[in-house]
Symmetry: C2
């Protein structure tokens, strides 16, 4: 990815080239910076993560909230969107607020037909033009961060600051990262080149060859309830920039954040002279099964999915006509051997388990601790003692209701509540989940993490299942070696999005790195400060890996891009002396 990546830019779209390249020229520097950042993997973000008025201006927060509130009880407008009536999806805020937003209703056939009708002009545009449009969409999404933050807060139950950050700027970062990869990947080859092969006698053979990236077809995005934008934007923008129309199928419980996103995308597409149906919303109720129907449509050639292992595996098994990128679930694991900052370790882990009530696909579930203890700067702590210390750290973190609310958020749906009830009977509860009153919303259920002490040998049936929500286990093992073996075996078999090692010795850390490579999972080492196992930074940290069963994709790497388009070639002879520019004559 070189700085000169735009040198090969050629816009061959007929007629309105000037209009269509406007957004590209506006964002060219940003795109080049993003490509460089994805290569360097140092910290970088053009989207400030602080919701402070000093950053977004004093009007942004109240204006965004007002815009959000205006959606409530209304029919969401998407001008020009194919529509046969409206659908009341029944979104209800985990904080008790009824949303009552109706969305355009569209059948799978209608959605695919509209996407296909919009596809050809979009496909004919250059990667530059598409990347420019995508960057403009992201810029306007950033301006709408407060509106989207409230929509995320009231559909996912995320605490507000998290909803702002993860649902706004961090999701926009992930989207821009996908744009950068998709743009650079399509520009690796020249649009037109000259091939000159010397001959033993006479003139050389000379051909002019063109290389055209062509999108695979309709890209379906099936989004999740908990991180509709953060997990959705990479697929949305990767699909768009590689020349595919995208049908956005939100989770019935979290439509609004993506409806706002689709509205903004369509506005930008129309301004750039494209059919806005390049991006479509396919809202459905929880009872409808349009996701499955859409995913099997012969013209749907790419599927992005975030959600349950069951449906993810079903998609991988059945959507054979498509390239399927899934982010499912697994057994996020922490291996504890030793630490020189036991307080920091406990603080970090307590927060990691509590953040958004453990409803992150990255929340640690299985904490593997040698039965006889870990060495710490506070002396050796057995597995049982460590479990008690963790329980105390959780109580300390969540003792203040305001702070608890700002950390825990609310339980997103009945599935999480059911799992939490079921977990109450498992192993030896060292920190039983407790209900906390929300200082502002009467309707919200706040629950502290449930932590149980398990035995590695006796309780394998329990900890080799995923318990999505505020449920984690301290698992007593025979030794660190045993922990690392268990880590590799369980993650290879059941997958994981995150893994963490706490150890002071370089030899143990090296063994952990080897175990993580064997398990196929990204590793965090000795997190005791302000970086948590469940957080990944766009442009620097990878999220997920096809190397283990929890996902079939990494956000964001080249493999996440290359399945979405093909480069097609044409070749013709030209006279040796003819210049490339005569192509147009």
């Amino acid at each position: 990815m070189s700085e000169s990546v735009t040198d090969r830019a050629t816009d061959r779209s007929p007629g309105r080239a000037t209009d269509r390249t406007d957004f590209f020229h506006r964002h060219k520097d940003l795109l080049e910076r993003a490509v460089a950042a994805a290569g360097d993997r140092d910290h970088w973000s053009p989207h400030p993560e602080s919701p402070s008025p000093k950053v977004y201006g004093p009007e942004a927060a109240p204006a965004g909230e007002a815009t959000f509130r205006a959606h409530l009880g209304s029919a969401f407008k998407l001008p020009g969107h194919p529509q046969s009536g409206t659908v009341a999806v029944g979104e209800r805020s985990p904080y008790g607020l009824p949303l009552d937003v109706d969305y355009p209703q569209v059948t799978p056939e209608e959605a695919v037909a509209a996407a296909k009708a919009a596809a050809s002009a979009w496909r004919a545009a250059t990667p530059d033009v598409r990347a420019g449009v995508a960057a403009e969409i992201l810029s306007r999404l950033n301006a709408a961060s407060f509106e989207i933050a409230h929509a995320v807060h009231h559909t996912t139950g995320q605490p507000f600051v998290m909803a702002f950050q993860a649902g706004g700027p961090h999701a926009q970062d992930r989207g821009l990262e996908a744009v950068a990869y998709a743009w650079a990947e399509q520009k690796k080859l020249p649009a037109v080149t000259r091939w000159t092969k010397p001959q033993r006698k006479g003139e050389p053979l000379v051909m002019e060859k063109t290389f055209t990236p062509v999108g695979r077809g309709v890209n379906l995005l099936i989004a999740c309830n908990t991180f509709p934008t953060w997990n959705g934007y990479p697929g949305l923008f990767a699909g768009l920039v590689t020349g595919n129309p995208v049908i956005v199928k939100p989770h019935a419980g979290a439509v609004l954040p993506l409806a706002i996103t689709v509205r903004i995308a369509r506005e930008v597409l129309a301004e750039a002279g494209f059919d806005p149906d390049v991006v479509l919303l396919a809202a459905e109720t929880a009872d409808q099964r349009t996701a499955a129907e859409l995913a099997l449509h012969p013209d749907v050639r790419v599927v992005d999915f975030t959600g349950s292992k069951e449906f993810g595996n079903w998609l991988e098994e059945h959507a054979r006509q498509a390239v399927v990128y899934t982010e499912k679930a697994g057994l996020n694991t922490v291996v504890l051997d030793s630490t020189d900052d036991y307080k920091g370790l406990l603080r970090n882990l307590a927060f990691a388990l509590s953040l958004y009530s453990g409803q992150m696909c990255t929340t640690p579930q299985n904490l593997l601790v040698p039965r006889d203890g870990i060495r710490t700067d506070q002396g050796t702590r057995t597995a049982a003692e460590f479990a008690e210390d963790l329980a105390a750290a959780l109580d300390k973190l969540l003792g203040d209701p305001e702070r608890a609310a700002g950390t825990l958020g609310a339980l997103v749906n009945d599935g999480v509540r059911a799992r939490l009830s079921e977990a109450a009977g498992l192993g030896q509860a060292v920190h039983p989940s407790q209900t906390v009153d929300h200082p502002e919303y009467d309707g919200a259920t706040l629950s502290t993490p449930h932590v149980a002490l398990l035995d590695a040998a006796a309780d394998a049936g329990t900890y080799t299942r995923e318990w999505f929500g505020p449920v984690s286990f301290v698992i007593a093992t025979d030794s660190t070696e045993h922990s690392l073996r268990l880590f590799t075996e369980t993650v290879r078999a059941h997958g994981a999005l995150t893994a963490t090692m706490h150890a002071t010795g370089e030899d143990v850390l090296e063994a952990a790195r080897a175990a993580a490579l064997e398990a196929g999972v990204h590793l965090s080492e000795n997190l005791t400060g302000a970086v948590f196992p469940n957080q990944t930074a766009a442009f620097s940290d990878f999220h997920g890996s096809a190397a283990n069963p929890a996902a079939s994709a990494t956000l964001t790497d080249s493999a996440f891009i290359t399945g979405r388009f093909d480069v097609l070639q044409s070749r013709r002879h030209v006279a040796p002396e003819t210049a490339t520019a005569t192509e147009e004559s």
Copy 2:
């Protein structure tokens, strides 16, 4: 792909770094040149395609032939290779020569176990080390080009010069192209980087992050009868360089070229300090079904396949645990509208149909011609007249037995012979296939192309099947527009490896380009000289495309590489002032 791609080279393999990087340092310039060539797509090859003594030296040809002849009637030696007895695969030259070579017998379980045992050190080596080993293998394969040429000639039936070029230097070019892509793709990210995030108060957060490419698992290569090396090397080298052990499963009729390849690869691996079982040979008889068994083995994570549509589709359907790259078959199409060099067009097409008796996955089968004729510099020629002219051009090309033998080669197997017999009854035969005596070998069956005149409407059932071998159709259509529509429809439905357009008007050529993009196939325009529709040049032309059903891969693009490895990350805090170099402390 920048010139500085090696700046990030770091060999972290323990102990014998000096030995293992030797080959990399020897071939570093070549690798960088190859990466640049794959980006520029101008003509480039480090492997001379001429078998002339002036190029390869006066001794190369006789020495290569002697080495080949020494294999006949012997047991092929692969020192250290896992082996439970030997297998007589029954290779028989299409020119009549019995080969009688026995190969090591190995069960699928034994092969996978040996590959896995060899994998970890290979995976732990750096991309530089692996690319260096691969480049050395290719360099030695180039030195063995005459030995391999005879092995290809006497297993595939290719005429000798073609066997030398396609089986030797051109296959080596394709292999090196795969090495270049695989090497560059793994080096897009830094091995170690520093992440520094400013904090509102106090010191910045600083982390050191490592990125390690990790191969997916065992890579199975299922090779074909007609182009064992040309179609096999891309997968072999892409698999190797991305850190996977490769099990080579040759077609029972064409084992020797790949056995020689495996022997050379194992020699280089051993010299570089690796377990030679990183590359294994799994020879089988035509009756055994080890390919299917190997392809479903849970530890086989990548499959490369060239061959029939039926088995290719079966692999895509059933080898769900693996990433499957197939190159199958389709309806290679020529659309004729007009030409200003009718003689050149006929000469070019006659050669394209005759080369290796049409037994190339790229040989044109369906020639779409407006019933009322094409405009040429020799006047308008109706579809029927064009068919007669083509027949005459074939007779002229193949009239001399020596030249016919050097062009046609021999029919590779009974499947081709059966199809040729079946084709005799189809449509109106304008050039019935004729048998030609080989000037040197009594046992060879040489057959000229069978060309029949068909009707686009009446004979769709015939021309929408693939007739692999010397069978082509002149199909009378209503118009060029009709031809282009048929072209798009049939290729979208049944696939194609190649497409060719003959037209003098830029508007018609533009329409053909649009049709080819819609069909998802690479296009050649107005080939009337020394470049033929069925030939593609490594580093410049793409071969195949996942954009149509004839293949699920392109030789060679990034998608052919990215499914073979994942990048795994680890991260740890470091003090802001610590230098990266302290990692080793």
